[in-house]
């Protein structure tokens, strides 16, 4: 289904839309800007990447996941089914560091969708910064415990 047609159906109301203070925000996991607009709404496209924080377990280095629209498991298994909808999300956890994650983002969006690419990268960086703070506190807490 084309993005334009889906947008016409979805822009008025959808489960991710939050109207607040005159703003139209979105809780769509594939939306890296937070604001609901045509280009930033990822769930109506085929090739969106969402940068999503997860609940970190203790000692987990990274708590960011990339959420993609392609279901790699089933697509790889059954290539003839490419006309049916690729289901929602397969997550890639960013445990190998943000560099590999940013590579995935850059490869997916390339030079054609710079706005989306930058939004995703920005979110990745910000989440990792917050994660670093959490990690620092964690380490300090364990050190304090040992003493």
């Amino acid at each position: 289904m084309s993005q334009q047609v889906l947008w016409e159906v979805v822009k008025g109301n959808n489960a991710f839309l939050v109207k607040r203070n005159g703003l139209r925000l979105s809780t769509d996991p594939f939306n890296n800007t937070g604001v609901q607009t045509y280009s930033s709404t990822g769930f109506i496209t085929n090739n969106a990447i969402g940068v999503v924080p997860t609940q970190a377990k203790t000692n987990q280095i990274n708590n960011v996941n990339l959420v993609t629209r392609k279901s790699t498991k089933f697509q790889q298994a059954d290539r003839k089914n490419k006309n049916t909808q690729s289901v929602y999300a397969s997550t890639l956890s960013v445990k190998h560091g943000i560099h590999t994650a940013s590579r995935v983002i850059r490869k997916r969006f390339g030079t054609r969708r710079l706005g989306l690419q930058k939004a995703a990268l920005r979110k990745l960086v910000n989440l990792n910064r917050a994660n670093a703070v959490r990690r620092r506190n964690e380490i300090a807490a364990t050190k304090a415990q040992k003493r």
Binding site: M1, S2, Q3, Q4, V5, L6, E8, V9, V10, N13, N14, A15, F16, F43, I44, S71, F74, D78, K80, N81, N83, T84, Q85, S86, V87, Y88, A89
Partner: protein, 406 residues
């Protein structure tokens, strides 16, 4: 569409196993998504479950109230007759009065139900079925389908023989549909408003819709106690279930035979429907609605002019070409030559230096004459001024003399 989209049928026991690899998608799933038709039909059909209610026709009117008329320093509203109680003399009957009847009391014969054209209803149902096969629409409706292996989800007929709720639950868990059920459970809220006292205590979300085919299927009983799940026979698909609230994209689980039956129900683009008499699926206005793809296609890009890198709308500051030679030259490159030719023509017209000298002599003479005239003027003005001064002096000295004399 040259290639027919294909769907896998999953085994009921194992969500990774596929019993039938490639079944063609029924044509209903290709119908255009028409939220306008769906919402129109939905708003009307939703009224058909309403039960008649009315206000007691005598409510507020059970008095022998009469207006006191004018002249008694009170409003002319009918007033309760009699005496001996506070109520007597109070206003009655009007909608604005306390204890009066409402304006336009509701009658039982209010038009509660709406009829909708059959064709519209069918188009809406077809559109709603098509929407259940589109992942973003199901997501947009709010279903939790991230673990579901495929949309549309088609499962072998084995589930139609489920009798136990545990079987049903396990089945849902296997296919990632349990997340949606959990959503329903966790968002069950006590309803706001009086309805909770009228038998509608909770507001419950909609979960998956299970569609089966065989009439003797037992799965109705297995699934009916699972919160949020609805079960329906494919021959009785209901727009109110396919697009609850008029919102397209319900999460639907089809059994294999139900899925196969859809072609007979709605027909295809080659054959009209068998079961819906004379019904033909709606055709889309655009067969390829992907504008981006159309614009970027070879056929369009071949005909299109190359993109302009810069477009200059106007100069930074406007220069008048009639006065600014460079501006004129920019507009009319031949203007330069025209100007040079004009100057050359003027020079050619003037016959040598004699005429120039003659002009000079004339100029000299005229200047001399002018000087003469201006000199004469000067003298005249000076003389006049002097005369004035003399008179003034005389006058004031006479005055002084007179003053002295006194």
């Amino acid at each position: 569409m040259t290639s027919v989209p294909l769907v896998s049928v999953f085994s009921a026991d194992d969500s990774t196993k596929v019993t039938a690899k490639h079944i063609p998608l029924p044509a209903v799933f290709q119908t255009p998504i028409r939220p306008d038709i769906v919402s129109f039909v939905h708003t009307n059909i939703a009224k058909n479950r309403r039960q008649a209610h009315a206000v007691n026709p005598q409510a507020g009117m059970q008095h022998s109230a009469e207006s006191w008329g004018t002249g008694r320093a009170v409003a002319r509203i009918p007033r309760v007759s009699g005496s001996g109680t506070h109520r007597s003399g109070q206003a009655a009957f009007g909608n604005q009065c306390r204890k009066g009847r409402m304006s336009l009391p509701i009658k039982v014969w209010r038009r509660w139900h709406r009829r909708v054209n059959i064709k519209q209803k069918r188009h809406a149902a077809a559109s709603a079925v098509a929407a259940t096969g589109i992942v973003p629409l199901v997501l947009a409706r709010g279903h939790r389908i991230s673990q579901v292996p495929q949309i549309p989800l088609v499962v072998e007929d084995k589930i139609e023989s489920y009798e136990k709720t545990t079987d049903a639950l396990n089945f849902l868990k296997r296919f990632g549909a349990f997340e949606d059920v959990q959503k329903v459970v966790s968002t069950k809220v006590v309803r706001a408003g009086i309805s909770k006292q009228r038998g509608k205590k909770y507001r419950v979300r909609k979960g998956p819709l299970v569609v089966y085919f065989n009439e003797n299927a037992k799965l109705l009983k297995a699934f009916r106690n699972v919160p949020g799940v609805e079960v329906v026979n494919v021959t009785r698909l209901n727009l109110l279930q396919l697009a609850p609230g008029g919102q397209l994209g319900r999460f639907v689980i089809w059994t294999q035979s139900a899925f196969a039956h859809l072609d007979k129900l709605f027909g295809t683009y080659r054959y009209a429907s068998v079961l819906k008499d004379g019904y033909q699926l709606l055709r889309p206005l655009l067969t390829n609605p992907d504008l981006a793809r159309i614009i970027n296609s070879n056929q369009v890009q071949e005909k299109v002019q190359p993109a302009k890198t810069t477009t200059v709308l106007h100069e930074v500051q406007k220069k008048n070409p009639l006065r600014n030679t460079k501006a004129m030259d920019r507009l009319n490159p031949y203007a330069r030559k025209q100007r040079a030719a004009a100057i050359a023509a003027i020079k050619a017209n003037t016959k040598g230096t004699k005429k120039i000298k003659k002009n000079k002599a004339l100029k000299k003479a005229s200047r001399a004459a002018f000087n003469k005239v201006s000199a004469a003027l000067n003298d005249a003005t000076n003389a006049a001024v002097q005369e004035e001064q003399d008179i003034k002096v005389k006058y004031f000295s006479v005055q002084k003399g007179a003053a002295q004399a006194e």
